[in-house]
Assembly symmetry: D2
């Protein structure tokens, strides 16, 4: 293992935001399996997130989801987080769980529904002011199920207007982060289905509108790292929602389904300056632990990102460039793969140890008794999930 000083500094800067909802229950339309100890409140979610940070040092902030994480006093919540060694991060809006949004929210034909959805985002901005969050992330769940059901063009025009209203409400240091998704929860059109659409809206809005790339939100066989490179080049890559997939938006643990893809993505992040200080690229997880332990799953996830980032930073850029410029196809690929196949795990364990962290955070968590403790303590109440 031999990272350049710049690469080592980049690794030192790495911070991965945890989504509060990863600690609640999640599932499929068929079944949501529950686990003992699942948080009932946002405070309990934060307590669980603090375990991940304590054992890895990689996850200093937590994203909130409104209204799931609504509290009366966000200042108090921020202080609570601070006590746990955490910061409150991105604020995520939600327009997919209200009956009024059956046929759309920011794109709805009815101005009253659009107004309601815009107001929800205003409320999110209020929360951002209280928490000190920089980013308002909008994953727009709007779309249609049947050809002819909606007017694709009209929906775009209404979306542009709604986004403009929201964007203009943001403070000067706040950003609108627009996420795209090819399908689900709608099955014919989504109103922001691809990066091109998110990019076109972002450029129309202004400099503080950027794009969120969820690694599971593309058509099969899409080259995701190309999009990463392109958005960085265009100055519009705002955030990642990391997860992995074999089929659709499977929301599996990042790196679980196609670790080489994660490597290629992170290699483009490094190449495009996304790991540089002040790059503005936010790394976040967005996964569903349908059947596995949630806290251990989050620990595994941040370790996966760190390990792969280390591999991406290991690429011998000089040798790679030389081979690329020489037209040496196999040689360039070999330089690239050499970093991928290097076993960075022992080195990262040493590095953790130097910093007073456990060599094996997964084992340390299992040994900590925390899972048993919350299972015993968190009895009664209503476990958090996507509905609350």
């Amino acid at each position: 293992m031999s990272l350049t000083p710049a690469a080592a500094a980049a690794l030192d800067r790495q911070a991965i935001e945890l989504p509060s909802w990863a600690f609640g229950n999640a599932g499929t339309r068929f079944k949501v399996f529950t686990t003992p100890g699942t948080p009932r409140t946002v405070e309990e979610k934060l307590a669980d997130a603090a375990q991940v940070q304590a054992l890895t040092g990689l996850a200093p902030s937590v994203a909130l989801h409104i209204p799931w994480d609504l509290v009366d006093d966000f200042g108090k919540l921020a202080a609570y987080a601070d006590d746990l060694g955490l910061r409150l991060g991105t604020i995520n809006s939600n327009t997919f769980q209200d009956d009024d949004y059956r046929l759309g929210s920011l794109t709805h034909v009815d101005p009253a529904v659009r107004r309601k959805a815009v107001d929800h985002h205003f409320r999110c901005i209020d929360v951002m002011h209280a928490t000190g969050s920089r980013d308002l992330k909008i994953w727009l769940p709007d779309g249609t199920n049947y050809p002819g059901q909606g007017d694709i063009r009209g929906r775009q025009d209404r979306l542009a207007e709604s986004l403009r209203t929201i964007y203009d409400r943001l403070g000067p240091d706040q950003r609108l982060v627009l996420e795209y998704k090819i399908f689900e929860p709608f099955f014919y059109t989504m109103d922001v289905p691809d990066w091109g659409t998110a990019y076109a809206h972002a450029t129309a809005l202004g400099d503080r509108a950027v794009v969120c790339l969820d690694t599971g939100h593309h058509a099969p066989s899409t080259n995701v790292e190309f999009i990463v490179a392109q958005l960085l080049r265009l100055g519009r890559l705002g955030a990642f929602d990391f997860n992995s997939r074999f089929y659709a938006d499977d929301d599996l643990i990042v790196g679980a389904a196609d670790p080489f893809q994660l490597f290629r993505i992170l290699a483009e992040v490094v190449r495009g300056g996304g790991m540089d200080a002040g790059s503005g690229v936010q790394f976040m997880l967005d996964q569903c632990h349908n059947i596995e332990d949630k806290i251990a799953g989050q620990i595994r996830s941040v370790l996966n990102v760190e390990e792969m980032t280390a591999r991406a930073l290991l690429i011998d850029r000089d040798a790679l460039t030389a081979a690329q410029e020489a037209g040496d196809v196999l040689g360039a690929n070999a330089v690239y793969m050499d970093a991928f196949w290097t076993d960075v795990r022992p080195w990262l364990a040493d590095r953790r140890e130097e910093r007073g962290l456990p060599r094996d955070p997964v084992a340390a968590y299992a040994a900590s008794g925390y899972a048993e403790q919350i299972a015993a303590e968190r009895v009664g109440g209503r476990q958090a999930g996507w509905g609350a």
Copy 2:
């Protein structure tokens, strides 16, 4: 419109089974939208299904889902159905909603869980005896989410054993219908992911084990009509679950997403004898009316199947064969497409009129006041959905 006598007879025989659950609420993992008037009981589901049959004459039977449709006295339920002009049809088992099945049911490593899942199927067979149903349909929701999580091979071996036990319990006139699905609710492996697996198990079991083809359960770009033709050739096409999709198992109204695919499927059904008297191929709907009216959606669905069947029956088989044998690529395609583009709707309306049915069943339903009536009457109680 000019159907041959044999084609006209095939159209006369067409019967499309309705799933009881199509009348309850359905949705995505993000949200289940509800509608006023949604049935609370299996009797109310049957009442709604009876509307579809009364207005179209195409849907004389209803499939039940166990345990969602469990009643104390299935004989009484069958009599109730009979009063409504309906028969009780296929019995569908369910092993996806019990906490015990988180890691599998018929394939689980724990013999006690497998026993429980087998017993559930025994109970379904008991229901079949009470209802006079011929078919036990098993859509196996078992699978894994992470590489290494389960032993793919061991799961197959346990599945074979479980299916054998169930199969041996069937009566001499009953069939085991095994459905396959590429993914969901699991995202790495499904234990019956493709027709080849279903076919291999069916042939190992015996003559009364057949395959169910759900039109939404394949990888993108799979040629579904080829599978139809092949299963008919091999004598193992037992049933269809009709729906349509743009992306995954979208469960949209049959024919809505790719009407030409539905035509091609039905053309192979006709070609392979699947419309012949006694063919044993069961046509069923399996859809989710997430945002549209459910009863009207079912009416639209059976009409779509009928219209497309009429088009498939219209293919001039002699002309087609002649062009195929002459190697006339464009000519053969033209014969095929000529049937697809023929507007069979006026002719089918006439045909309905002759039979005392409304020319336009959708309009007749809207005019009937039934939707308003059930919305007014079905107040209180718990609306049926996938959970009950």
Copy 3:
């Protein structure tokens, strides 16, 4: 059949450009099957194209491919076309058949290779001046096969520079039309893989840079009509390359694989003003008649586009809008589908007859003896194909 006057006028305006190379041989990497009578020269290609126009009245212009269609005197070629009742249309560049372009053309690391590729486009612009063509279409075949082989970001930067140089050379009435494609001939990255990339480059270049949408150049399950609607909204839809596909860039006859998709695409073209006079949207075919007759294949293709355009124009826009605004999901879909299922063929045959064209152009072509004539006359020489 009842088109509004505006719709009828739109249909009257419809013109579909034929690609000269459709009349030459095409195939797969496995085999190029040849047919008797295949043109040896660009003049023979034009003669074949003139058959399509004579029998359908739908195809008044022919796109050329440089260098395949290079002649010494393009003024003379234009006059020859004029005698045949044709115009010369879009000029298509080619940077995929020279050994120098193995690792890229406009994106190559070597400035000398980029210069060569730019010069090729300058030559194409010279041809445009001679032929009076408006559009320079660039389908960029550049890409890489192996991760690490090339620098994704650097290739984009070089591409931007090359395109700028070409764009600045265009005359004030000429356009640069940039086509995107997800994969092939390269299998890891393409340098213009998606509409977002083509759009970002076009907006950077200027108002006369627009995007070409080839219907076969997307990932599986991409909603192509959404892209059509979006590019029209953004004012950047310059051209279509029509064909159809089941799997990849199959280049089958337009409308053959998924006729409903073609309908949805044309419905968005109509909705977005793409059929309006002066819209600037160029409709072109780009197909490979691997195993079927080429001239008959082109006739079938332009008829498919015309029939589907007629269906798209038949949509009752007032009724559709009313249902959409009322949130009537099934009703809006029904209005939409009603147009799709209407059999426009007899009406279009009548319309042709009124204009002195054959009711059935396919049959008229078969009866004309042209195929037999060219098979007899075009003996010797080298049949045109992708290589020449």
Copy 4:
């Protein structure tokens, strides 16, 4: 690195067959790039293959393609191979390059064409007797491009008959290995599109009919290792054609596109007994070195297979089984991934050194001067490619 004795023995047994055509030119329908030194004869192909074997010890046999590799005296060719330290392996038939096969070969409607295609396979069997080859591999390139063009069912019936005739001609120690492919060179149907079809034909034929799995021949998102496990369970996995892909049948170097998939495949091979002595599973490469050096590409390929096999053999089966049986989702996945992330390369280099092989075969090849030598010597003649 710590392999069990059984695992070490399995690794020792590993042999990867090279395809003779990998040393000739290959490309896309757009362009075949050539390289200096490309073989003109089968003898030169064998000489190149001998380089791979000499430097890696992993590739003791070479598959031949008929008619590309036809020689007058196969006994002499076998002796020549033997001198080079090679054996002649699988015989691959070819029915995709004759004009007669435009509409099919073993499935053609014309009995004379079917007869010709069967006779070609008889000739291949004659070659097998001369070379001592065990396996006749049939990749059937038959299919159709347009719906209606052919009769799907009739084509299956004719295929069954043709295969029966060929199978019956085989000697008692010879096998028929039937390969499937989802699409290309045909784009609507292939006559053997999936493993289910190949399996159904194989079981109908007899015990010596088995299936060949080409890793690039599936629909997007297909779980290939499931098919491997299933075919092994059913006793019908005869051979692999290894390569890799991002999109379609890209034919990239094995392990290049998705190394984790290759690991999962090999893990199932190990689990299912496919690495056991006498398993009958033949490992072969089938790739296209479109732009990279061919011999170096083959060396890279066999090393990729060896490295990944070592990783698959490293899986701690006891720990894995224990975690699986305990229902420890994350734990089982961790055991599995631990093997994947282990850097086996230094250990394999040591192992090569112990056997008198170069530690770094790629570097050794580059240093050998062989590439320069053949470029200088092989001047004139016609370079081998898919056409010859």
